[in-house]
């Protein structure tokens, strides 16, 4: 792995073509430009250019009060909006020196895991269209709808949840939520299992995915990726286990790993993580204590004391960190978002070299990058 692998170093020779995949291409979850130097169908060099939807979030946040930032964190990555809320909220709580109430911790875990399920479902769905399996995409989106409805029931919105609050959450569980959630989650678990079997038994699908885009554990840790692409190589790196936050200490769950590190394993990890998240939510619904779901005094005008904090959680895509520097005013002095998709996007070009054009779709989609978050 050298840095030449991420750049196109020379103009194409007469037998090669320079292909600009993007900024608008059916493969992409959002606009980015993937320059490929191809010889026939084989990729010789690849270069990823990003920044088409740069929103300047880090700069914008320096000009907003802490409570104003909360709904904006949803927009970092709309598929993991709850994770973004949560990590921001925990960072500010750490600066303020307060703890969420016990019930709020469980509620946040429930929302986080539901968010993880819906993100994985859509990620797998997009990926299956990229290997030409449109039916599976529609199945996955259908399953995702009911999960999003569950999220809507607790957070009040379907996409940008804005759920966490400093010291608590915005809403309590609606009545009869437990029975409704258990019923839906049981069905989704069964359906996802059957989809998993359907995919794993399809010979064309196996041919397209087994042994394609292989990332070994050494290379993966060298590239600095985290999340499902890393766990697919056999590394048990899950911040929920390594650095337990909220109530993950009290919950029983496995860290899903696969050994091969290819496209198939990355998707398999996500499929199994959905089952694991369902199990976590079921435990949370059983164990959730009664009590207040938010602090009695919610600090609307938040002035943390001078200091700084680096908080990270396990996003659906990997390690999501936020680095907050406070100067004692009601606005953050510096707000840095360490997105998981940024790291995975950076690791994409070296993976593509030597593969075929058709594998670009499969590999890029299996990394489950989110352009909105890469650009921020």
């Amino acid at each position: 792995m050298t840095h030449e692998n991420t750049q196109i170093t020379s103009p194409p020779s007469p037998s090669e073509i320079l292909l600009h995949l993007g900024p608008q291409h059916p493969l992409q979850p959002g606009p980015f430009l993937l320059d490929l130097k191809i010889d026939g169908e084989t990729i010789r060099e690849a270069e990823l250019k990003i920044g088409y939807i740069h929103k300047g979030m880090e700069k914008v946040f320096e000009d907003r009060t802490y409570i104003q930032i909360m709904p904006l964190t949803d927009r970092i990555c709309y598929l993991a909006s709850n994770a973004n809320n949560d990590v921001y909220c925990r960072a500010v709580e750490e600066l303020l020196g307060i703890e969420p109430t016990p019930r709020a911790k469980y509620l946040r875990v429930i929302a986080n895991e539901l968010n993880r399920i819906q993100s994985h479902l859509l990620g797998i769905g997009e990926y299956t269209t990229d290997v030409g399996f449109l039916t599976m995409f529609i199945y996955m989106v259908r399953e995702r709808e009911s999960i999003v409805s569950l999220l809507e029931a607790i957070t009040g919105s379907r996409l940008n949840h804005n759920y966490a609050r400093f010291g608590g959450v915005a809403n309590d569980l609606p009545p009869n939520y437990k029975s409704m959630a258990l019923k839906t989650l049981g069905e989704i678990g069964k359906l996802v299992k059957s989809h998993d079997e359907m995919m794993s038994s399809d010979s064309i699908y196996l041919k397209r995915t087994k042994g394609v885009g292989v990332l070994t554990d050494k290379v993966a840790s060298e590239l600095g990726v985290a999340g499902p692409p890393l766990r697919a190589t056999g590394v048990e790196y899950d911040l929920r286990r390594i650095e337990p936050y909220l109530v993950y200490d009290d919950l029983d769950f496995k860290v899903i790993t696969q050994q091969d590190g290819d496209v198939f394993s990355r998707v398999k990890v996500r499929l199994l993580e959905i089952q694991e998240s369902i199990y976590i939510i079921e435990q949370c619904l059983d164990q959730i204590p009664s009590g207040p779901y938010k602090q009695h005094v919610t600090p609307y005008i938040t002035r943390p004391k001078v200091g700084e904090v680096y908080t990270r959680i396990e996003d659906p895509r990997g390690e999501l960190g936020m680095y907050l520097v406070s100067d004692g005013s009601n606005k953050p002095y510096r707000f840095r978002i360490r997105g998981p998709a940024f790291a995975t996007a950076q690791a994409l070009p070296p993976l593509l070299i030597g593969t075929y054009m058709a594998d670009v779709a499969a590999i890029a989609a299996s990394m489950d990058s989110c352009t909105s978050e890469v650009d921020r």
């Binding site: 792995m1 840095h3 030449e4 991420t6 750049q7 990003i50 920044g51 740069h54 300047g56 880090e58 700069k59 000009d63 840790s221 060298e222 590239l223 600095g224 985290a226 890393l230 590394v235 790196y237 911040l239 390594i242 650095e243 700084e308 680096y310 990270r312 390690e319 960190g321 680095y323 520097v325 002095y333 510096r334 840095r336 360490r338 940024f342 790291a343 950076q346 690791a347 650009d375």
Partner: protein, 152 residues
């Protein structure tokens, strides 16, 4: 390999002249201020000690005279995050690149460069990553950037 808090002691022993303000606020966090000229040696030391995951590189601007580059280094097997800060002069900020030690430092350094104007010596492709190319040289994340919000 020491991937817990004892690393800070080892680090201070090995680079006693380049490390200052060592602080271990909690079980999972440790921070220190480093000399910007020794950054590659320190990072190589940490990497050899098992801190194989560079989480993030961020810049922080403190006008009128200094800037900081903040490194968050952690490990794939332990929860300890080491925050290392290197202070640079604001009129000529430059620091050595970590690309040879941590492969993924590349994009973080490019982003910090285009946003803050902090030059990373020997970074293989120090060109704009996120911003449009015509914004090269405007350093929008500096606190005194006047283009914001009117230049949007």
């Amino acid at each position: 390999m020491a991937t817990d808090k004892t690393i800070m002691v080892e680090l201070t022993d090995a680079f006693s002249d380049a490390i200052s303000d060592v602080d271990v606020p909690s079980a999972n966090r440790a921070e220190a201020r480093i000399d910007s000229s020794k950054v590659t040696e320190i990072m190589q030391f940490l990497r050899d000690k098992g801190f194989d995951h560079l989480s993030c590189i961020s810049g922080v601007d403190y006008p009128p005279d200094k800037m900081e580059v903040v490194y968050h280094v952690t490990s794939y097997s332990a929860p300890l995050v080491i925050t290392l800060k290197a202070t640079l002069p604001r009129d000529d900020p430059n620091i050595d690149s970590l690309c040879d030690i941590y492969w993924n430092a590349n994009w973080y350094e490019r982003e910090t460069w285009e946003m803050f104007g902090i030059v990373f010596n020997d970074c293989p492709y120090l060109k704009v990553l996120i911003l449009p190319e015509e914004m090269d040289g405007e350093w929008p994340m500096r606190r005194d950037y006047a283009g914001y919000p009117n230049a949007t």
